[in-house]
Symmetry: D2
Subunit: 298 residues, 4 copies
């Protein structure tokens, strides 16, 4: 019996970078959070503390900032992550794989009575755009997504027909509030895409499908959201969702002599439903290592 | 020497209420977080555990939900808080004061290719609207505000001319990023106002003043934001701000042979500047107990 | 009518300082979070952006680190805060007041089979120790406290005898779980104390009083905790508590043919009770400005 | 080309359960957070909203509470998770797999001058104990762990000998602070173990290895921690770690005429190093589906 090093990776997490494009007086800003991790010949780093093949995490951080300048900005986060991954793997023979994760926070230009301001912005809130790029000897993969897109339907949601057991107390309903925080990740086929355009389209399609699906189960809404994306985007092979069912319980006002015709709700925190599923093409190319280091439900 | 009970209050915190207005098929929703606290003759509750004068916090919670139904909805959070305060003080002779704090989260109607949806919404993110209503034997006060309005200027901000001491290392600058999360509270004169309209106007004025002030200090931006609000809103006596200076440090790229003409920044977390100030009218009525139980910097 | 600057203060928040005492091979560490704020002649900083009297927040940060070295460590956080306040007010004629808030995180020495380790530590978790020192032309005040001391009694707590109204649904109980996160602040009389010893004693007295009080209301437990502290500590004038009632609801298992003799509970998040009160000496000296800038319920 | 449902699971997350053992007057409490998820024949739930095979998440929640009563308590979280998984899969023919994740929060009995108290407790803080049990047609797997064990060495850590590139600015050091939050998961061989005893031992071994390893890289400390566990615990096949390098930067006090012999440090938040690795036996049985739904770095 022996003990050995298994899979591993290391790097610098949450490198907060804001880039200001000042090409004209009308500035544009890009606000991202980069986590760079590398793989390679790291056996003796772990077993002996020999750092000969360990590109410091501090150097990874410096590289992120330097490249944002060298490359004239960040661009689509998928493209920036791909270029970083290629740089790290291409420049150092002791690095044979890279995982670059980037989160992007959106800002809106402030509008005053004089019109859109040249260089003043307010943070949008709402969802975060994400990407994880994996590169190794076998290929390159891009998995993009969004987190924290909170949506709610005040009607158009039912839940009934489920099995009843010894432990069932839930009442069936033909009209409830349906609310969730959409977290989704989609795997691209290939790496050359207009990522910004696809992101905007995917987000809009998800919102539309959520809104227009008369829902008999949150699973059904989820599936329709994935299906809608895949129908319009051949460059996407699959979508993985993790969506809480954020319960809004109708408050029983009858002790106070009041009815409650689906008007007054208690928005609960915990526990919550947790619905996770993949919607995929039946002819999609194999995922390879796309999901190997992507946290998720599968 | 004796030991005694001093100031006190109690209640139910964070009653999460979502109200759906279904007057027409085009639903409207209101998403609020209510903290109800009461004051009164509570000496023996504390010293003996005698609950004769202790309206349970559970009952306060029930009241919030019941009143949302009885009153046909929530309306402006200030009005809802005032009505709750009057109910609690008016109905129970052992209650002589109330503090009702409400936070409101904004939602946007989802727009699909078919237009605005009747009953599907996405949470806006961005700032939270707040109010604290205080009512006691001496009067009623309304202090409203906002939290978490994150703004940034990519230029138009300088910082220099400060005293230099033994512990000074900061370099002067005539061009920096200025970023902050605006937290503000404003005290109303009187209690009859179109609170929704004032809120929208105050928010817009703050954004405009932040954007248009060429800033020599974050304090100056803060002051202009307060001044702009007071100039347009005679019903507001004072504005109190607490604003972090969210440092964005220019990254030194010279070790890599690169310049950095205010393009690449590190967005730091801690420490941060913390700027707090009141902007007020010199002829405003005295605050009375408006701020007595309002957490803030003063 | 004119608009003017009201009360204000500014500084650097959350300066994270870890000091290692290496006087012997048995190291000691001190882990604190310092927020320094100053007051003074800051009118034109706000109105004109004239920083002549604005000691930069960056300089305040530098001072915290430098003084930790000059003074050979941090010592009791109250003493460090007092010395910082005196430094800032004493050294700069444009500074006439200071507020120094410090939070301290406790660490335990790691014990191995060889005994306590010389220089390895694990963070204790549990409560944070706090202090706020205020200094101005009128005096010096020390308010210390603790946050996040979570305690629970699995019996020995009742709640009944409260008024019943139209909105009452709560059932009376003679046996419930009582749980809370203790947040407390106590005001010292004078500024020369063995703060570390008092802190340890206050903490122990609060735990003992919470444990040994057969509770008819959370207010009663709170009061006994404060009374116990004041009885033993003449140097403390008052204690202010803010304590959530963290509800643990007995789960109704009767639909499953099961009883539940106070064994299975649902630990709820929101809403929660919120109990706030002061316990004080009737002959305590006036608080002066001790609480002027201390966030709290009063 | 067709679109189809891929991998999926659903359930109730964060069921907060506190169990009080009242067998004697000396109560014992167990505080856990259960996330139950099921797999099975869920195609038409997603595609049609047909819930015939969808055991409601509400029923899963009820089951957790009922079983805590039926089984006379929770016991080791691994055993409770295994029993829940077997119940869900065994009782319902439309359920063919279960994932049960449990987090446990530790409490200490309060000690007063009269000794340990019968029924009063304080929450310990520090790390959370975790387990994820996966059960499907192929078998049962237990992966346990801990999160949030924060440790620090004030000396006995070096970092040098790393490659220098165009983007290197880091200085080598032979004496630095090493600090991390240990997150670890270990996979058991088989499912019959004294889980409580193993947990206590693993935790102690990790602390000892962290303390006693003279570290040339955080990777080396990690590896020694894993190796120490595997050497003593044949029932563990592998340990996976994710450990931030929580940077403590030596403050440059030279501008103030002060030296800083490794005494005054700035504890930084972001970015941080992120070190992830597996330490495993070379003859361990294959993991099967143990890690299939366990979030982690691999």
């Amino acid at each position: 019996m022996g003990i050995r090093l298994g899979e591993n990776q290391y790097g610098k997490a949450e490198v907060r970078l804001v880039h200001v494009n000042r090409d004209t007086d009308v500035h544009r800003i890009k606000d991202v959070n980069v986590t760079s991790q590398l793989r390679g010949d790291l056996e003796t780093v772990h077993t002996l503390g020999d750092n000969t093949t360990c590109l410091p995490t501090d150097t990874q951080k410096n590289t992120v900032y330097a490249k944002a300048r060298e490359w004239g900005g960040v661009g689509a986060i998928e493209d920036f992550a791909l270029r970083l991954a290629r740089h790290f793997v291409g420049e150092h023979d002791y690095v044979d794989g890279a995982r670059q994760e980037i989160h992007e926070y959106a800002w809106d230009r402030i509008t005053t009575p004089d019109g859109p301001h040249d260089h003043a912005f307010s943070r949008r809130g709402g969802e975060t755009r994400t990407t994880v790029v994996t590169k190794d000897a076998e290929g390159e993969w891009v998995v993009s997504g969004l987190e924290g897109l909170t949506v709610l339907k005040s009607t158009g949601s039912e839940f009934h027909g489920y099995p009843r057991t010894r432990y069932t107390t839930l009442q069936e309903t033909t009209d409830r509030i349906l609310a969730t925080d959409v977290s989704a990740r989609w795997r691209y086929v290939g790496v050359d895409h207009d990522y910004d355009a696809v992101y905007a389209s995917v987000r809009a399609l998800m919102l539309e499908a959520f809104a227009n699906t008369h829902s008999l189960a949150l699973q059904q809404s989820l599936y329709e959201m994935g299906r809608s994306v895949l129908k319009s985007h051949p460059e996407i092979a699959e979508v993985r969702f993790s969506m809480p069912n954020k319960h809004h319980f109708l408050v029983d006002l009858s002790p106070f002599g009041l009815d409650n015709p689906n008007e007054v709700f208690f928005a609960a925190d915990r526990p919550y439903g947790k619905i996770e599923a993949t919607v995929e093409r039946d002819d999609a190319p194999a995922p390879g290592n796309a999901w190997k280091t992507v946290p998720g439900f599968l």
